[in-house]
Symmetry: C2
Subunit: 194 residues, 2 copies
């Protein structure tokens, strides 16, 4: 997605340890017009999937996922990272390992918001090693629902997440695929025009 | 806001300790069409304020705040509750006391996303004792910016937050004002039609 790639080139910053800082438009300050365009692009790419609900993980996934849900006209379900006072009914949990923090955390949804034939589109801001994606897929499976695919805003294609998802036969669409962050420079994967 | 009041009546649940559970459309599953209507309503109510940016606190404020920002055509800034790997520059922090958890937590924004004449509209999902609102106002003040007002989705008018904000002369707009949650019943504040 050209608009997103340009934004990353202009406002993204490469930090040590292959970290791409996109606080200017995605993770802290949010460019909501860009999020709306991202929403429309995901809907186009998953147009044949008969999605009934969008699933994301708090909190950086919420803005793009909300725009996808709005464009599709379906509800959004936000998997939580912390137990809350009100999130108590029919909890389904999964574990997500964080390579950065070197710790495992639980994520959870309430099964009461998962219909029997629910067809989820999973949306997340980043795909690196795929740990969050695995956790979200695990939640969907534990609810006996279907994940029609995963939409990723920024994919670090030099890490293992995409490869693992491809091996599982999951339909993945990433709007910006980063081949390398070497020399403080963002290099995108060269893809043939579809 | 009638649509919101009806949704609260239909899908909200009153739990022990004056807790209103709105996981069905606001805090866990999100009704994005309702969020869009909420966004339009806030924009109407603050129409004279020349807002340059919307400010909210992760994570339940993000969906309604993103719709406000989209409707206004301005960026959204999301105050974070946890230090992140990439949120490191020019951090401004404030403290938020949680009556529920009986603990004080830090919230933070990066000053680099606050322009000199920034005019923030603060959006949050709930107003009870006003601790989150105080923290967000504190962040704005520490950045020498202006808070033009606070838009609240659901106000517990029987708690002290609204009173405190009124005493400070802050322009507060709450889309649903709850007078009482006694007897497991939601009773709204009766307001004269504007």
């Amino acid at each position: 997605m050209k608009l997103l790639q340009e934004k990353i080139k202009q406002e993204g910053r490469v930090l040590k340890g292959n970290v791409l800082k996109v606080d200017a438009f995605l993770n802290h300050q949010v460019d909501v017009f860009l999020m709306q365009q991202i929403g429309k692009e995901f809907v186009k790419r998953f147009s044949t999937e008969q999605i009934t609900k969008v699933l994301t993980l708090e909190s950086s996934g919420i803005a793009p996922a909300a725009m996808v849900a709005l464009e599709l006209g379906v509800p959004l379900l936000v998997a939580r990272k912390c137990k809350s006072l009100t999130l108590t009914d029919e909890l389904v949990t999964a574990e997500v390992y964080s390579f950065t923090k070197q710790e495992t955390n639980q994520i959870m949804i309430s099964k009461q918001f998962v219909a029997k034939d629910e067809r989820f589109l999973i949306i997340d801001d980043f795909l690196a090693n795929g740990e969050a994606a695995k956790g979200l897929l695990d939640l969907v499976e534990k609810c006996s629902a279907t994940a029609v695919g995963i939409g990723i805003v920024i994919e670090k294609s030099f890490q293992n997440g995409r490869k693992w998802l491809n091996e599982q036969g999951i339909h993945v669409e990433s709007l910006a695929r980063i081949a390398s962050l070497n020399n403080n420079t963002v290099t995108f994967v060269v893809e043939e025009m579809k």
